[in-house]
Symmetry: C2
């Protein structure tokens, strides 16, 4: 038998909303199992009366039917189980339970006693707008690609995008430090090209390189990028780990807005009954981990997210989370210019539109296509703003 | 139109074996899509003749039926697309495609031109055996838990496990740096307790703390643990990012065997038609990322992995991968002592058995339960060895 000791606990708890499948008896058993699995991982009958049993083991707070064979279960955990840091918080939320079928994390409800451990997004929506001089309209982002182009060709593209008025010109997330486009050479040339276009046009476009890479180089690469004139950072937090993004966001020497790309995170969201919800992963967790904008595949493009999935992500980027700033949803992936009106209808003005191949497809003059997009979005947003 | 440039490429390619679902036309379309999505992310008709089209875009090498509505497709990529580093390699393998349904990564086939960029496991199976003085038998591992116990109580458990002859005494992966069991205090007390037991028993047990945590503290915590006498490190690479484990393994000041825990990685493997196979994730990728042992939930316990899943993981831990050493499969999760015979039958001697709650359940005297397990495994392994 395990001995019993007093434990210093505040009594504050955070709550995780899970969706379970099965009949009621199965779901109740699953809920009890999650309470143990995510905390003590120990046979319940060997744990003595006392604080481990009463406070450390998760507690089922709500158990409700949500249609045939579906259940919404709220489980609370002592805030201290998280160690007040992101990796262990994710572990308590879904670590071992990710290995079991039929459980999905729907959303997180965290008290300030836990949120206060996280700085969250440094810039948020207002920070992007101030930096880009765009107080109201939707923001525009595009990507430098295809992989295989040398740095000077990527810089030429960046120059044309910037002249055309794209706000944020990012590396494609597949541009790393390959021999055909080395990181440092690419960053210097592209940052310089965007600065030159800004001098000519009077605009405030930013270049945002991809700093995803070996964890022992990410910070140095971010500092190099800042020194070279980059105006933001792109990171695939599923490739480097979410906490590496948090570490960049918290760094008082870096101080650049951060956009997260969903590479390798798809396996968490592709099944409706398992993994983590779009709302929690691309909204709440991205904010906990310091992202200022969260890329995801728009519905109706070459990915399979639904319109409702996308709407929920946009909600998650702005849902109340204590002092954590709202961030921009950034739908992309196979977008064409023709879809701007329906996207404005869904996302409103509080969005970054990410259009890559669509700009190349629109016509032979890239800068002209960008100007067309910028005008289209500006006009439509103005009209939709008047209507509201 | 994108301009065409010469690209410095070696001609060496690595291959990813994907499993696709759908009818033949759908599967062929998916395969073509993967070739673009994982590399150029660009409309194929806008890419000119030349090296991007011929070398950078993925290439379908094999397309074969594998039963009704299932296809095995081998796609090759230029080794240079990986940037010769883990995060970008994972991105090329499955980054964007993880966001699409009905595609699973089955296995990786990498030439030395790519593998040479990775040191892989520093110790591997032979390294554990040398360190633990156990040249032939299966190794035994247990976990310090439940969460909520103070450091001195965890150290008491460690002492009893070590006296009983458990080889590897690890923190439960939920022990982080919580106020009720701070990392440094816990590591010092547990390492000391195991050293004391070794002095008394003449054995070579090791204590292996959990260094999963904020990425800016992982290395310092690992160095602290080494200084305090830890004999190995536990890390949940799904929580910190796989590359953080690789960074620890490569560090010439740390030089301790590393065991990886699968927390949060379940969403990659729970569906047979999506994600990453057990073989690739817990075998091949764990080795690329420097793990010396790979924990996974044993079949028939409280998780849902099948016997075949587990067998494939064991294969993946030892499949030929150039200079990368074979590592130990480490099945755990709800194991009882009664299951040792069937597990020996599946895994043979080249295994670390991870038994946690089962030791507590076996009887009131922990050290005695450990001795019983050690003898049981030793005897059975000897018998099974004679039979072979």
């Amino acid at each position: 038998m395990i001995p019993s000791f007093p434990i210093p606990l505040s009594g504050e708890r955070f709550r995780v909303v899970y969706r379970l499948i099965g009949d009621e008896a199965e779901a109740r058993e699953k809920a009890r199992d999650i309470c143990l699995e995510q905390t003590v991982e120990f046979p319940a009958d060997l744990i003595p009366e006392g604080e481990i049993r009463e406070q450390i083991i998760g507690r089922v707070e709500v158990f409700e039917a949500r249609g045939e064979g579906h259940w919404e279960v709220v489980i609370s955990y002592a805030v201290e189980t998280s160690g007040f840091e992101l990796a262990q918080l994710l572990n308590v939320i879904f670590g071992n339970t990710s290995l079991k079928p039929g459980v999905r994390v729907e959303r997180l409800e965290m008290p300030e006693a836990l949120l206060s451990a996280f700085k969250g997004p440094r810039f948020g929506r207002a920070g992007w707008r101030a930096r880009l001089g765009a107080p109201e309209r939707p923001l525009l982002c595009t990507a430098l690609k295809p992989m295989g182009l040398p740095p000077r060709a990527l810089a030429d593209l960046a120059y044309q995008f910037a002249l055309g008025g794209i706000d944020i010109i990012k590396d494609d997330h597949g541009l790393a430090d390959q021999p055909f486009a080395p990181f440092k050479e690419r960053v210097e040339l592209c940052a310089e090209a965007v600065a030159r276009a800004n001098r000519e046009s009077g605009q405030k476009c930013i270049y945002m390189p991809n700093v995803t890479g070996p964890v022992d180089k990410v910070r140095d690469n971010a500092l190099f990028a800042k020194e070279a004139g980059a105006g933001g950072l792109l990171i695939s937090s599923g490739l480097t780990g979410l906490d590496m993004m948090r570490r960049l966001a918290d760094d008082d020497r870096i101080v650049l807005p951060i956009m997260t790309h969903p590479a390798l995170q798809g396996s968490f969201v592709t099944r409706p009954d398992e993994g983590i919800s779009h709302y929690a992963l691309f909204g709440q967790i991205a904010r906990l981990a310091g992202a200022d904008a969260s890329i995801f595949p728009n519905y109706g493009g070459r990915f399979s997210f639904s319109r409702e999935d996308c709407r929920r992500i946009a909600e998650g980027t702005a849902a109340p989370m204590g002092h954590l700033k709202p961030i921009f949803p950034t739908p992309g992936g196979g977008m064409s210019l023709a879809r701007v009106p329906e996207m404005l209808d869904l996302y409103g003005r509080e969005v970054i539109f990410l259009i890559g191949g669509g700009l190349h497809k629109h016509g032979p003059d890239l800068a002209e296509s960008c100007r067309y997009l910028r005008q289209l979005v500006g006009n439509m947003a103005a009209v939709s703003g008047e209507r509201r």
